[in-house]
């Protein structure tokens, strides 16, 4: 057996790491509920496992999603993750081919060059030398980029990078040292024994010309082993925990396990999968516009992980979902935030006084939502469109219905929300309608996700579009140049981007703006931003308006009463709901028709 005391730090680190990971993962999996455990068992023996493996390869190794954000950033992550793995695989094969044994000591591939000075004996040795040096160069390029990124993040498309904790700094420093040390150790050895490839061989000869390699080589191997060991020990306490956790997370997700409104051990997998890459930072308007520096997803998850979450941090987020859209690990950030809000929730309200009374019914029910009642022009437009299209409808909350429950949900008051939902569900089911139309994306989201109604649930933009396509209303295209503000709950929240746009193009000229669809900004008045003060909301609002007003459109359109009300506060340009423009068009065409007839 090949052995030298310098391998001890590496082995010790690796053993500790393995124990910690196994302990943590098993205890989290153990804490999952029965159905989720069952899903794991079923998943392991299904084709899903291949899908998971593919995803691990694409995301954890190649970092495809990071590439999409920025190619430089993607390359950096890929060269470190994929490069390192290839280096381990390459080393393993090399050592096995060399020794012609199936099993050797686990550290031999890592310190192969130390133990095997004369490696030209076996066939393919030259090729191995070349490949291993190439891989080392690949990883070293990633390390240098990571180093540059610390000081010049703009090169990687990032204005802000994550502020690190001590554990992260320790692991990061160790990580930075690992590959340069390997390079030195292998080069020094090659300087003496000439067993290096194009990189380590050349560098070895160069170092040999002026360095006392006989003394330095052994020290370099020790240092390399210590760096590895230190990194392994720091790993579970640092952000690098994501390396292994993300892999497990991908498997669990592929087995069909989803995050729930309650914080559970699956959430633990999620928060430990955060690499603190900081991509969410630049996407957060609370940072870029409102200058709140400590609530972004990365810091929020960090504070959960280190058990120092403060109430303010749980409640100042607008839950606009933009960070989630760009998270390379696709962590369900909004759900985690809500689940943490639940822990601060207090109320157990009595809603017995709410007794819904509806006498008649209709195939289509319209739920305007409270915000629509506060923006009566939308309500009037919708009622007019219903009448114009001769739709048999029931205005469910005409005289004030029961709240949809979403505001309470966003506040983490799930129990109270559930009570309201039950009341509404009972009412809607009794009505036996086929379609539920709402003007408010906030209501729409909760109807779709938490109501479990067996009827079609649509936003009014979808409904109007259908009416138009069925020829029940005649739309009138105006000359107005308009821009569209995607409401968070409708766009990122419910994935409805196209119908509003198709509809707008039938009534005006839609101009695209720099930040739309998945990239769209929040109006700032999100019901979720409970702890935000009026100044912070204003900063977000102004930021969003700046993007919308940029090309000086005739009108800013949106599809959410709350967005409309918010943006109208400071906009120099008319802010309207799409339904208003639709109704204006219909009335105008009627006037034209009347005058033509009278002529």
């Amino acid at each position: 057996m090949k052995y030298d005391p310098f391998v001890i730090p590496f082995c010790l680190g690796a053993i500790i790491l393995a124990f910690v990971l196994i302990y943590k993962y098993f205890s989290w999996i153990f804490a999952l509920n029965k159905t989720d455990k069952h899903k794991i068992l079923k998943g392991i023996f299904s084709v899903r496992i291949f899908k998971a493996i593919k995803e691990v390869f694409l995301e954890s190794l190649l970092h495809r999603k990071v590439f999409r954000v920025n190619p430089m950033l993607g390359y950096m992550h890929m060269s470190l993750a994929f490069g390192w793995l290839l280096l381990i695989l390459g080393g393993t094969i090399e050592s096995k081919v060399h020794s012609l044994k199936m099993f050797n000591t686990p550290y031999e591939p890592i310190f192969f060059k130390f133990f095997n000075h004369d490696i030209s004996m076996f066939s393919g040795a030259e090729e191995f030398k070349f490949v291993m040096d190439l891989l080392l160069l690949f990883v070293l390029s990633g390390v240098s980029l990571a180093f540059i990124k610390r000081f010049y993040s703009k090169l990687f498309g990032m204005k802000k990078t994550t502020k690190l904790k001590i554990g992260d700094w320790m692991a990061l420093t160790a990580l930075w040292f690992i590959f340069p040390l390997r390079f030195f150790a292998e080069s020094f050895t090659s300087g003496i024994y000439h067993n290096g490839g194009f990189l380590t061989g050349t560098a070895g000869n160069f170092f040999a010309s002026f360095l006392p390699l006989e003394n330095l080589t052994y020290i370099a191997w020790w240092a390399y082993s210590i760096a590895l060991g230190a990194f392994f020990i720091a790993l579970p306490f640092s952000r690098y925990m994501h390396i292994f956790t993300e892999v497990v997370l991908i498997f669990l997700r592929n087995f069909g396990i989803k995050s729930t409104k309650e914080y559970n051990s699956f959430s633990e997998f999620e928060i430990h999968s955060c690499s603190r890459c900081g991509i969410c930072l630049d996407k957060c308007q609370l940072l870029t516009a409102a200058r709140i520096k400590d609530t972004q997803a990365v810091y929020f998850l960090q504070s959960i992980r280190y058990n120092n979450l403060k109430e303010g941090k749980a409640f100042d987020c607008m839950l606009c979902g933009k960070c989630q859209e760009f998270c390379p690990v696709a962590i369900d950030l909004n759900n985690i935030r809500i689940s943490k809000r639940m822990e601060f929730a207090s109320g157990n309200n009595n809603f017995d006084y709410l007794i819904p009374k509806i006498e008649k019914t209709a195939p289509i029910i319209y739920f305007a939502g409270c915000m629509t009642h506060l923006t009566p022009t939308i309500k009037i437009a919708m009622e007019s469109i219903f009448k114009e299209s001769k739709t048999d409808y029931l205005f469910l909350d005409k005289d004030g219905g029961i709240c949809c429950g979403r505001p309470l949900m966003l506040a983490g008051e799930i129990l109270n929300a559930q009570k309201l939902i039950e009341k509404n569900v009972k009412l809607i089911k009794e009505l036996g309608a086929k379609t539920l139309v709402t003007s408010c994306p906030i209501c729409l989201k909760v109807f779709k996700e938490d109501y479990e109604l067996d009827i079609e649930i649509v936003h009014h933009t979808q409904f109007i579009l259908k009416l138009a396509e069925a020829g029940k209303i005649k739309l009138n295209k105006s000359d107005l140049n308009v821009v569209y503000h995607d409401p968070c709950e409708l766009g990122r929240g419910s994935g409805i981007y196209d119908e509003p746009r198709t509809l707008i193009n039938k009534v005006g000229n839609l101009k695209s703006i720099s930040q739309e669809k998945e990239l769209s900004l929040c109006c700032g008045s999100s019901l979720a931003g409970i702890q935000l003060n009026s100044v912070q909301k204003e900063l977000v609002r102004i930021d969003t308006l700046k993007a919308l007003e940029k090309n000086n459109p005739d009108c800013i359109l949106t599809a959410c009463p709350l967005c409309k009300k918010t943006l109208a506060k400071d906009s120099s340009i008319d802010v309207k709901d799409i339904s208003e423009l639709v109704w204006n068009g219909i009335t105008e065409s009627k006037i034209v028709e009347l005058t033509q007839n009278s002529n």
Partner: protein, 351 residues
């Protein structure tokens, strides 16, 4: 003798009164008014609180003031530029005329809050929602108060604090005059239509001025006006054109809905466009609420950050008429003392 010149911008109460005072002290005063008539918003009010004397009575007093003191009056002025060069202020008008002076008083007043910004109250959407200013116009015209269908209203709702003390519209300050205006107008409605019911929806009743409280008591005891503490959440139109208002009665602790035939919104004051425009041209400091900012809240009122430039009236903050009079005279006094080289800045000590 070469008289020192003063430019006063804004022909409302503050501008007229400070111009009259300065001219009577012997200065050569030119008063600019953007419209064709002096008097400002006062021209739109019929009776004034708390005494119910006529607004035009006060306009007459102000008119006499500027005429007796021989103030030069430039009406229909469209000021395109105002600046200070060296020790002289220059004001240019749209017609090409240029005016110079040694001192300047800005009295550009306030604008009425645009009630359309509180869309939930339905102004501009529902016919029978009007503002307090429009109600005053009706009183002034001598016409009866009727719904758009031409019927005498049986129930009138009055909403306090529209655009004031409301973070949602970005105005966190109190406009001072609306509470007592609401009391005044509700009494007037009751006097004109004794059978009607008047409901005032208020947050707080700020009866800070002398005799305001008496008026409030009178409204309750003599005229049976209903005061309901609670902010209106929304108004919507019933089939017959009347308005359904939703409000929480915070004293009774329960939500309330009621129908009214006419809803009057007590619109607050916002810094006027003129104040913003000319204040910016001169480089004057604005406070957080957008009104002009004095050098010190207590001791340097009316004194702007530009030496020789002063301000009076509601361009500095919402004020009642008697407070505007006091402020206008104080601004005139400060302007005169500046022209006589009295150095008030010398007295400033900061601890």
């Amino acid at each position: 003798m070469n008289r020192k010149r003063v430019i006063v911008i804004g022909g409302g109460i503050a501008g007229m009164e400070s111009a009259a005072n300065l001219a009577s002290m012997g200065y050569d005063v030119t008063l600019f008014e953007k419209s064709q008539e002096l008097g400002g918003h006062l021209l739109g009010w019929e009776k004034l609180f708390p005494t119910m004397r006529m607004g035009k009575d006060v306009v007459k007093f102000l008119d006499k003031g500027v005429h007796l003191a021989k103030v030069n009056i430039v009406k229909n002025s469209n000021i395109t530029n105002a600046s200070k060069n060296g020790n002289l202020f220059t004001v240019s008008c749209g017609d090409g005329a240029k005016y110079e002076s040694e001192a300047l008083v800005l009295a550009t007043g306030y604008d009425i809050f645009d009630a359309k910004r509180k869309e939930e109250y339905g102004y501009g959407i529902y016919d029978n929602v009007i503002t307090s200013a429009e109600l005053e116009e009706i009183f002034l015209s001598g016409k009866p108060l009727l719904t758009t269908k031409g019927e005498i209203p049986k129930r009138v709702g009055i909403v306090h604090c529209v655009g004031s003390r409301d973070e949602k519209v970005g105005n966190v300050y109190c406009s001072k005059v609306c509470c007592v205006t609401a009391v005044k107008q509700s009494i007037e409605i009751k006097e004109k239509i004794p059978d009607s019911n008047v409901f005032c929806f208020y947050m707080d009743l700020r009866m800070f001025g002398m005799h305001f409280e008496t008026l409030y008591k009178q409204a309750q005891e003599k005229h049976a006006v209903n005061f309901i503490r609670g902010r209106l959440s929304e108004a919507c139109e019933n089939m017959d054109g009347s308005l359904l208002v939703k409000v929480e009665d915070t004293l009774a602790g329960k939500p309330l809905r009621m129908s009214v035939d006419i809803l009057v919104l007590m619109v607050g004051m916002v810094p006027s466009e003129g104040t913003k425009k000319i204040g910016t041209m001169l480089g004057m400091n604005f406070g957080a609420n957008g009104f002009l900012k004095s050098q010190d809240q207590h001791t340097m009122t009316s004194i702007s950050n530009i030496p020789g430039a002063f301000f009076a009236g509601c361009c500095g903050s919402p004020r009642t008429i008697n407070n505007v009079f006091a402020d206008a005279r104080s601004a005139a006094m400060m302007t005169a003392s500046y022209l006589e080289a009295y150095d008030i800045e010398e007295r400033i000590t900061y601890i």
